[in-house]
Amino acid sequence: MPKLTSHPDEVKIISKRFGMGAANIDRYIELGGYEATRKCLAEGSEWIINEMKASGLRGRGGAGFPTGLKWSFVPKQSAKPKYVLVNGDESEPGTCKDHLIFLHDPHAIIEGTIIAGLAIGAKMGFIYLRGEYRYLIEIMEKAVADAYAKGFLGKNIFGTETEFQAVVQTGAGAYEVGEESALMESLEGKRGVPRIKPPFPAVVGLYGGPTVINNAETIASVPHIITMGGAAYAAVGSERNGGTRLFGISGHVERPGIYELPMGYNLKKMIYEVAGGVRGGRKLKAVVPGGSSTPVLLPEEIETLGMDFDQVGKAGSMLGSGGVVVIDDQTCIVEFALRTISFYQHESCGWCIPCREGTDWLKKSLTRFHAGFGTKKDIDNIQYLAENMMGRTFCPLGDAAAMPTLGFVKKFRKEFEDHLDGKPCPYAKHVEVALV
């Protein structure tokens, strides 16, 4: 069991059972588990959705769409079966929050799935786990088997007339499949390529049936919201951003890790107090606030920045998956941009032209640029490429690649210029130049 670091500001809601052996179903029940589901079975669909709306819970996958609202979009009557999908395809660089939930509290996922099913009238849930999380598959599958054994899943859950089945499915290693409709394609056994929207999954989703798809953290929050009540949950967070979030702080900080903090928590405080400040007392150069796809923020931009969807959005970036990447002053931004784009180039599914070709050319250009063979025109070209990918691609992956690149070029143009004229990289002090 990994050591779970903590900080006084942490508000333990989702993580409250972490480190307590809750993967064991009996232990989970002992800790109050599955009570939320019983309550929901008694209260019914409308009540659940109202609680969810009251909680102000917004999708933890990155887009921040209000969960209660999403559930309410699912039509009451449907000729085709409805489904609940748990998106556990956590792949965004800088993000590793969901794996902790699967590791420590798999039954919270199952419970959340059942409750989502009760809310929308689905009888089937799929828990889609990132393919690379091999070590979590067994844990999750055992949890599902245990839940079946206890009668919490199956034809008559908790001895009622209600049916709910759950299946664990793994991906095959594609970031793109984290996109909801691509995940459905993958789950159906097809190539992981997104679908045209509309229709949205709530109307036509998995196997053509109305589908609710939520991030694993969102789903794991559900039983806690039911237990503490939507209003109480909402009160923890900031305005229109209910509850807490698992923030993953990585990069050049003294105590990197996953911290559960209330929505709206100040980013500067998060870096300097919760995570112990920049490593080795160095200076902060930049922060990526919500996973590698979100535009970089400068130190002066985080002074009073509260980490919720609205405030970070206003600051010109995105809260995203809550993966905070801290960059110190000995890091080369060009190399950071290259590392970032390399990931998206590798993960682009290739479906649409701007993303497929754009990420490839960005990577090629940045590789050459970082090696010292760039020209001034290349800087403009890189910006031009990224600008022409933004908003033009089939799915958000193109934006995810273009946004950070634009941020780097616009905010650190001087660092790019410092690479001109065959000069060796003047910044990279402690990272080997990564040429892929």
């Binding site: 479906w351 701007p354 490839d360 022409n388």
Partner: protein, 817 residues
Amino acid sequence: MPDVTFTVDGKKLTAPAGTLLIEACRKAGIEIPAFCYYPGLSLQAACRMCVVRQEKVPKLQTACTTTVAEGQVFTTESPEITQARKATIELLLGNHPLDCPVCDAGGECELQDMTFRYGAGESLYTEAKNHREEQKWSPAVYFDRPRCILCYRCVRMCGEGMDVWALGIANRGSSAIIAPNGGDHLDCEQCGMCIDACPVGALTSDTYRYKTRPWEMNHVSTVCTHCGDGCKVTLGVRQVDDGAEIVRGDNRDKSGINGDFLCAKGRFGFDFVDSKDRLTKPLVRNAAGTLEPVTWEHAIRVVSNKLKEIRDSKTENGGGSSIGVIGSNTGTNEENYLLQKFARTVLGTNNIDHIRTTDYAAFVRAMAGHEHRAASLRDTETAKAILLIGGNPTEEHPLLAWNIRTNFRHNTARLYIATDSPIKLERQARQTLSLPVEGYESLTAFLSGDDSALGEIENAKTFREAVNAEESLLVIFGQEFRGAAIESLVKWGLAKENVKFAYLGDYANSRGAADMGLSPDLLPGYIPVTTPGAFAEEYPNLSTQPGMTAPEMLDAGCRGELAALYIVGSDPVTAYGTDPAALKRAFVVVQDIFLTGTAALADVVLPAASLYEKAGTVTNTFGDIQLVKKAADKAGVKPDFEILVRIAGGMGADVKKLVPFGRGSITVPAVTAPALSVDFVPTPRPIPSLRGIHGDLGQSRGAHSGEADRHAVWLAARGLELRLSPFDPLAALDEIERLVPSYKLDRLNLFAGNDVHSEPGFVPVASLTAPTAAELILPAHDGLFTSGVLGDHTKALVELNSYQESISQPVAEAAAD
């Protein structure tokens, strides 16, 4: 869907709600560029070329996935949109090899057109392009990967359109690539539809690649010479030493009866015209008994003198009735018409027939007097319910199969199949009834409620219930039906409302051969020789005594009772298994393109032009008439039409009576209603919206973009063009229209390159004779890569045939294990 009004670039447009914006705009003349969008196939939104600005929507929207609704406001051209499209093209060109100077698609390439339009003229990158070697996927299909822009048209065309699913996508991101199902080769129907759908030169065909440039060809729209569906094919023709050669077949302007579609035979099966086996010189058997090349003048003199001598001979074995004439399944209507007129009026014999592959006479007999009950091929694309009895459209009628699949996909048409062996179309069928081989005869009775024969079959009754519950039905039946069986089936359907019929037969103009009176007992239009009506006046010396059928003629020839046999484009000796030696006593003349079994024993062999080397009309098995245009040219050969006129002339016949040409040829006297006067403009039939009704006359894009000579079309359509030559087949068409009741043609449509349906309902009922003997019917059952004698001499088809056998072998072996 109710109409909605929306605004595009300041113009108010109206379209049914839910129409795709890109389609609504195209109809209004606003072109939105797109690579991945392809009408009729599933939507991709992958190329991002069709981006437009929609008011109140933050991002640019793809016009190919946006459906129109009331009050929407769109902008399709603006600096922002132009920049987005330009950027997309820049990205595509980044890895594109830019080998336009040698690329097959150069000049006909959508990527070139878009680059020209949006001006991505500058390269932004200095890095090397991604490159992969060209691959040969099959004898027909090559893949040049670097040129591929991943629009997925080929994947969808193959999967959705052809129901073959031989193409997919391998790898991802910038390594993503179109890949065939066989890993490195294609296991498919080799239709080449992927090549046609490809907007660039990534998919190329073995027959065309690196042969020429599009602007060096003339593009001639004509009709495929192979099966009975009669697809329109655009032949790319280039001048060579001994005429003009065909270098490409496709239907790139998507016009005509087949829209997008062509199969392997239509697309690749044209090289027989340049086969080294082609006859190019007239041959006359010399004293030594061998065939010797002679001049045309000599050959014609030999034939006309001999025929005249036999016709005029008063001996027992002389006179017109001692001459037999056998016509062709691939010649034009005009040639077949002229052949029987020549036989009946010049030779003075009713001994005229063709190798019958299909019992059209029985079909028309059953349909006579019932207008609007014969289906056009176009009906198969829109019919709500189809009952297919017998036949194997996927193999033998690829266009019909394509139409049924399209109808199933777009309109969820209900298909019912009754068959004695499994066929591929069952995948689209709502219900399939497995009949015993002998079960076709009893099917009609069963459908009418008689359980005695088929009632035991498992799903037979639910099948019948479903079929009978259909409010409208298109009944398509195969050559399993002949004679009385056709009559009873049609009778069953005619008793119901909204039932239409189609009868499936072989070859490009088998239907035309029957329609044009290549029968010993039936004149053109199925009018019995015993009661010839108007023909009595038109055809001087017409005998009202039915003549011999083709097998009877050969038998009579073997017995020495026939003095001469005149055979056009047909190989009866092989077809009927006649002993070649037995025919020695008859004077045999053969007009053909190859030295067939019959030609080899002939006394005179006349080298004929193929269907791709002449003009006229042909009628497909559905009775749809189309215009054939001369594409290729071969030195030494002559069209059958010209040969016949020359021989008739040589025999001293009044050629002007045979072919109404010259001064006075314009008059189109009103013999039968409706009168075909100068002002007669028939009402065009509505044509399904997805298909072009535009007169194409060749390529609709690229260098030879079809500027139709509308003036010429108009004149021709109204019969105002003076027929200056006795060799002009259209002079015969005038006469056909005048005398054949079912051929009332919408000529403007016909001459503009579209199909015009004939109406067997116009055939007069009163004068019908007894049905033909069923045993006279010899179905050819040519498949995807065979086409009778033509197929044997078509290298591309022979290669494909052996390739298909070689790739299917491992499967057979595995099954044997």
